[in-house]
């Protein structure tokens, strides 16, 4: 059983915990990603997430299925926020339950890592100085504006993975 969702509303991880209950499971691991007040030297005052929902849902479900198959966990859940978030808000929740702790830890780690790299979800940070920027994108655009004359880091400069 697996379940991936996008939520436009704030939610709490504790309300999702019961989805993981399973008599065959002796281990439960969850991860919560929160909005923090700084990133790459800038003071952050809030952010927004934007998703290409149909593909994000499909890819999210694929990640959960992979985690279950690869690590043998029984249940896996992930909910990702979209819309405007404030400091401290829950941005992403991942939880898995499994017979034993080892596969639960590894599957949870796998899911959050893949979610960050594969889902068509974008994050715009708003900074205390009034600036804002799309994370992982602004630098790419700047490089395209000012090509480095020597050897050109156009693709090397950012290394987000697309492949599995």
């Amino acid at each position: 059983m697996s379940q991936f969702r996008l939520s436009a509303e704030p939610f709490g991880g504790e309300t999702l915990r019961s989805l993981l209950a399973d008599a065959s499971c002796g281990g439960f691991v969850s991860f919560e990603g929160w909005v923090r007040d700084h990133n790459e030297g800038q003071r952050v005052r809030g952010l927004e997430y934007e998703a290409f929902a149909p593909l994000a849902l499909r890819e999210g479900e694929r990640i959960l299925t992979e985690a279950c198959e690869r690590f043998g966990v029984r249940r896996a859940v992930c909910v990702h926020r979209v819309g405007a978030l404030q400091l401290g808000d829950l941005a992403v929740y991942v939880a898995v339950s499994a017979a034993h702790r080892d596969e639960a830890f590894r599957a949870c780690r796998y899911i959050i890592d893949e979610v960050k790299h594969r889902l068509p979800i974008w994050k715009k940070e708003h900074y205390e100085n009034g600036d804002s920027g799309w994370v992982n994108c602004e630098r790419c655009a700047a490089i395209q504006d000012h090509q480095d004359p020597a050897v050109v880091p156009a693709t090397a400069a950012h290394t987000h993975r697309h492949e599995k």
Partner: protein, 281 residues
């Protein structure tokens, strides 16, 4: 294991016989440089334009990643030399910027028949039966030979390939490696290439924009008619129209709500989304 393959379009020449920039010559509405880069992009890990340092400010070249000649004004070998030094562990698929009839099938054959243990893989020219140096793959081992060739005062890459350990492929039929040097040849080539494009029916597609691309395009979606045949061609068309700043190699494409390939044909009624670098979690 063979070295990773990168692409290089030679656009650092002076186009003296043409008396205008060959890279900027247009066929069916696209410059030769754009056409060559679009052919390479799906076949290599990264592609670059070979330029002289005084061409870096040229916007048509600066739209791509560039490699600057280290030993300028030696002709095509300047660009080959600079690329082999810029990434010594990579092999390079080198293309001239004056091959308007070049097609993907020719490049795919070159790659399929590549011999990494040789210094290079090249077609024999159907013009003079000699190796064609500017639609060829140079392996990392070519670096020393090119260095020595230049040091000995030689220039001609064709002569270098002719006397080196190179895998040679029979010339392809159809004249896909014919090059153009004069205005007359250009006009003939343009006339030959135009009708093929004109018959390509325009098709109606829907494009959605997200995040930084939505802001740059100034819209979340649009419906449009395009004669672009692939997602890559469509992106290049829209990139020019809306001033989108991200290069295709920084994006992925989704067609009809599923991840797609840049080279995938697009059809009327398709919904296409260009995906900027993601940042979930």
């Amino acid at each position: 294991m063979s070295a990773p393959l990168q692409g290089l379009v030679l656009a650092g020449g002076h186009s003296r016989r043409m008396a205008r920039d060959k890279a900027a010559l247009e066929y069916a509405g696209r410059s030769q440089l754009e056409r060559a880069m679009a052919l390479l992009a799906p076949l290599v890990s990264k592609s670059y334009v070979s330029v002289r340092s005084d061409q870096l400010a040229d916007p048509s070249r600066a739209a791509y990643a560039c490699i600057v000649d280290l030993q300028p004004d030696l002709g095509p070998i300047s660009g080959i030399h600079a690329a082999l030094h810029a990434a010594p562990d990579c092999a390079w698929l080198v293309l001239a910027c004056d091959l308007p009839f070049l097609d993907s099938a020719t490049l795919q054959q070159l790659i399929a028949e590549r011999a990494p243990q040789k210094m290079a893989t090249a077609f024999l020219s159907d013009f003079d039966g000699k190796p064609e140096p500017v639609c060829a793959i140079y392996e990392p081992s070519a670096r020393g030979a090119v260095d020595a060739w230049i040091a000995s005062g030689q220039r001609c890459p064709r002569a270098l390939l002719a006397q080196s350990d190179v895998k040679l492929l029979q010339a392809r039929a159809g004249g896909t490696l014919a090059n153009i040097n004069t205005s007359e040849e250009y006009l003939q080539a343009r006339a030959q290439l135009a009708p093929a494009r004109a018959t390509a029916a325009a098709r109606g597609v829907r494009v959605q924009y997200f995040a930084i691309l939505r802001e740059q395009a100034g819209r979340a979606e649009e419906a449009l008619e395009t004669s672009a045949q692939t997602a890559l061609e469509l992106y290049q068309e829209l990139r020019a129209r809306h001033g989108l700043k991200l290069a295709p190699e920084q994006l992925r494409v989704a067609i009809n709500e599923e991840f797609g390939e840049w080279t995938q044909p697009i059809h009327g009624g398709d919904t296409i989304v260009f995906l900027p670098p993601v940042a979930g979690g």
